[in-house]
């Protein structure tokens, strides 16, 4: 366990510069905007007193590193500024806290769908290599992988909401029912990659000597697969979990837009439309940190599951 602990600490230390990079990038976004940066963070048609106030709060008349320091200081204290257009005056962190559970729910269900497709399909494809189910799975992964989430979402909308009239087309009107389509979009899209990983890793495992040995000892095939092979075959699939999280965050931004699911992605997209710059900055910062923390957790999970990783 000591090696696991030192591994976790090592990984956490490595994550710090990335979090710092996230704050730097989000901070610098303001300076990449064309024109005077202050115009991006004051409400439209604001009076000169508001300009003065904002200039003072953001330290816009001070050197840039002091401005960055102020930015981090405020961010650490949960102050990501205030929304300047649609939600004018509301604090950005409050808005994000309001929408975050929706996004997490969507990603959680999506992840569950992804793995409940990918693991069985990958295992069956590997066990019945070159059968029709294997080839069908291959075609599925190729096509699902070539469909960006927003396009897959539109296809699902067309099939389930427009043609079959089964599920609500958009929004929260249907309560939990309206979560199904966006979660399915994310899940199916992500399953493409995970299925491939699962299949190749299973193929590798069942070729190994200990599996042959178990079989030759007369253990039932089911037991060999589920008790011995699957456990080892799942390990590389866990490594992709970290990458999955990045994929899910990017995917949820577009999928929330397709289905008007009220999460952070939709909040951010509408903020971009409405030129609500503090809200855009805040959402990106929170999402980026969420991905970094998610990756960290996936790393720890992997090291916990596979002791070989900790020593490497």
């Amino acid at each position: 366990m000591a090696d696991l602990l030192s591994y976790i600490i090592r990984k956490m230390i490595l994550a710090i510069p990335v979090v710092v990079a996230a704050t730097v990038i989000v901070f610098l976004m303001l300076y990449l905007t064309p024109g005077d940066p202050i115009k991006s963070i004051v409400p439209p048609r604001a009076g000169p007193d508001v300009y003065e106030q904002v200039r003072d709060k953001y330290g816009l008349d001070r050197p840039i590193w002091e401005q960055y320091g102020l930015f981090v200081w405020r961010a650490v204290h949960g102050d990501l500024g205030n929304s300047i257009t649609v939600w004018q005056g509301t604090s950005v962190s409050k808005l994000i806290a309001m929408k975050l559970p929706n996004t997490l729910m969507l990603m959680g269900l999506g992840l569950a769908i992804s793995y409940s497709i990918a693991v069985p399909l990958g295992v069956i494809s590997a066990l019945r290599q070159n059968s029709w189910i294997d080839r069908g799975g291959m075609v599925f992964t190729l096509i699902a992988y070539a469909m960006p989430p927003f396009w897959l979402g539109v296809v699902f909308l067309m099939i389930f909401a427009v043609w079959l009239n089964l599920l609500p087309v958009e929004g929260t009107t249907g309560g939990l029912g309206s979560l199904i389509l966006p979660a399915m979009t994310l899940g199916v899209g992500n399953a493409a990659l995970t299925t491939r990983m699962m299949r190749s890793s299973m193929l590798e495992v069942i070729k190994q000597d200990y599996i042959t040995q178990l079989k030759s000892r007369g253990l039932p095939g089911r037991e060999v697969i589920f008790k011995h092979a699957l456990k080892n075959a799942l390990l590389p699939v866990i490594t992709v979990l970290g990458l999955d999280i990045g994929w899910f965050v990017g995917g949820s931004v577009v999928v929330e837009e397709v289905f008007s699911w009220p999460g952070i992605g939709e909040l951010m997209t509408s903020a971009i439309y409405n030129h609500d710059f503090p809200l855009v900055q805040g959402s990106i910062l929170v999402l980026a940190i969420a991905v970094i923390l998610g990756n960290l957790m996936a790393d720890i999970l992997y090291a916990w599951a596979d002791p070989r990783v900790r020593l490497g």
Partner: protein
């Protein structure tokens, strides 16, 4: 978007042997037998041809509004129907291929140049140079790439050039890691030492010995990179911060078409199919080439 990351980490662990010319020749020869490479290449070739020929193909202008035929379904006159402004969807899809390919290739060239330079410097010189550059590479590698592209595009404002910059800046770390790892092993080889003894400059060694040895995996990586860049471009355009009208971008067309899904599904469907086929082409080509290069990874397909 993430497959390339996995692919890259796989390529990382893989060393090449033999001369560069033999490698590339062998790659071409074995690719000839690989059905995925063939199909992928055929699709890519067809799309590039269509994109190049768009201005001379006998079809309607993508911008003219046929006000009498708004929301017309597919017909002999309008093959893919017309959109909400009465524009010909077929010619818009064809012209959209130019935007996608332009963004895909230019963004990949951009990140390839950036990644190649930094990766070569870090891997070849090692030591302090490597320590500093690797730090930057690692940060960009760990950072969620799509969010970075989104942040840059949102800050710079929507335009074709800005999308290319945003994607290029966000996706270079993979190339850098690949080249760095390759350079590390190659600089220890005897022929590099011989070159040094003969008085070759660092630049010469980097370009005549180290770089060619990275070439084959870079081709694979770049091919999949183009697919990734097209996905990101269409996603950003879908969100309204990518390519702006009147430039016909598939992502933007899909976004405006989804409002009319219930009575004019063709407006969103055809650009969607175009995206699907294009990405499929580049992925098949890249995946197939990877299998050819390293049969050990063959498990990842079929």
């Amino acid at each position: 978007m993430m497959a390339s990351k996995i692919l890259n980490s796989k390529l990382m662990s893989w060393k090449m042997s033999g001369g560069t010319r033999e490698q590339v020749a062998g790659l071409i020869e074995r690719s000839n037998k690989n059905i995925m490479v063939k199909i992928g290449l055929a699709i890519v070739f067809a799309i590039v041809l269509i994109a190049l020929l768009a201005p001379v193909l006998p079809m309607k202008s993508p911008l003219i509004r046929y006000t009498d035929s708004v929301f017309d379904g597919p017909s002999s006159e309008f093959w893919f129907g017309t959109d909400e402004l009465g524009r010909d969807v077929f010619s818009r899809v064809i012209w959209g291929s130019r935007v996608s390919l332009l963004v895909g290739t230019v963004a990949v060239l951009f990140s390839l140049t950036l990644g190649l330079t930094l990766g070569l410097l870090a891997g070849y010189f090692g030591g302090k140079v490597d320590y500093m550059i690797s730090g930057i590479i690692d940060i960009f590698w760990t950072f969620p790439t799509f969010l970075l592209a989104l942040a840059l595009a949102a800050a710079l404002g929507p335009s074709l050039t800005n999308v290319i910059i945003a994607i290029g800046v966000s996706y270079w770390a993979g190339y850098a890691r690949l080249v760095r790892g390759q350079a590390f092993t190659i600089r220890e080889r005897l022929f590099v030492e011989a070159s040094k003894a003969l008085g070759a400059s660092h630049t010469r060694i980097m370009f005549t010995h180290v770089l060619p040895n990275c070439l084959a995996p870079l081709i694979v990586w770049a091919s999949i990179g183009v697919a990734d860049a097209i996905v990101v471009e269409s996603s950003l355009s879908f969100l309204g911060i990518g390519t702006q009208p009147p430039d016909p971008s598939w992502g933007y067309m899909l976004n405006s078409g989804r409002r009319f899904l219930d009575f004019a599904p063709w407006i969103a469907t055809f650009p969607g199919i175009a995206i699907l086929v294009t990405i499929l082409g580049f992925n098949l080509f890249g995946d197939g080439l990877r299998d050819v290069l390293d049969p050990r990874l063959k498990g990842l397909r079929r």
